[in-house]
Homo-oligomer: 200 residues x 2
């Protein structure tokens, strides 16, 4: 006898299917939901259903959006001349937090990864090419992750977009601010050296 009731066990199974959640944590979370106010627990269930039912993609940048256009693409104050290309919708909040980027985004919904059977046609690349071809785009910033797949995808897109006469740039590589030189891996250090700049 495992000691959980049937419906609790089903809830634990659901939590355990989420990434980074093991059986122990899943069990703790499930029992927490049972101790919560009933209204709050049911609001959780409702939030899942609503988020799924409102699952639309912005007609412009392809991010997850409640409306036809996401708030950023709908915002006339955001410049249309710069497009920042990211892998996933959740990369947008990370860049928005810097308050340094005032252009628009484009979400690929993945990276090119031949080993996982993901080719360019699986990603929202066609929509990016259309945007670059139509609008007054001047610069496309590749903000994919600093991984093999992120690099390969950035390079692929750079080659694809060059013929449009736009500037294609890549986020800088280097030491993380607040990091420790001693703990930096050699690839990062090499990139930091290559990208060194004059101080004065």
């Amino acid at each position: 006898m495992n000691g959980h009731s049937g419906s609790v066990l089903r809830l634990i199974d659901c939590f355990a299917r989420l990434p980074g959640i093991g059986r122990k944590t899943a069990s703790r979370l499930a029992y927490h939901l049972l101790r919560m106010e009933e209204e709050e627990a049911l609001a959780f269930a409702r939030a899942i259903v609503e988020a799924r039912q409102n699952l639309h993609y912005c007609l412009c940048c392809q991010t997850i959006s409640d409306g036809e256009y996401c708030p950023i693409c709908a915002d006339g104050a955001r410049s249309g001349s710069e497009i920042c290309v990211v892998e996933r919708p959740r990369d947008i909040p990370a860049i928005e937090k810097t308050r340094e980027f005032h252009g628009r985004y484009h979400v690929l919904h993945g990276l090119i990864s031949p080993l996982d059977g993901i080719g360019p046609e699986e990603l929202r690349i066609k929509q990016l090419v259309e945007r670059v071809g139509q609008e007054g785009v001047e610069e496309v910033i590749m903000a994919t992750n600093p991984t093999v797949e992120g690099e390969a995808t950035a390079l692929y897109l750079a080659r694809l977009l060059k013929p449009f006469g736009v500037r294609v740039t890549r986020l800088a590589f280097g030491l993380p601010v607040g990091g420790d030189l001693e703990y930096a891996d050699e690839v990062t250090l090499t990139r930091a050296l290559e990208g060194r700049r004059d101080i004065l």
Copy 2:
């Protein structure tokens, strides 16, 4: 602009309210639910609603149960002469895993904690006293956590139950198996010394 859509943000808020889940993890989990098969995501919502609607307590041991009696209390093969007292329903699976205990449980749903305003009347102690008074109980094993509150509750219950002429025992304290003496705190080591046994 924070860059999340409204319904995604509400889902992130729900996850972030769970214990041990920060904003970053909440965001990762929410977006994972949006990438899942729709059927699987809706099953998650359903599991929450069902677990809440099936939230009953076993009439005997007070654990969370789908039916009037939990599977352990309903199992005639389990001995009624030993009662293992635990703080929470999720402590039962931990003890069941040892396959060493063949009696029944009693769930207090908390520990006595004057600082948090939790007195004996907030816990399912009355039901425990009733069980000990009625059935042929021979031993009550205190399996509350090895914390100040767990100890105080075990001691309080021991005094309460002694007049019934039952044996009241406590789980042993000592070094965790596979642990390292060097890293054991002094209180644990003191308890391990106090509880030492003859080897042969």
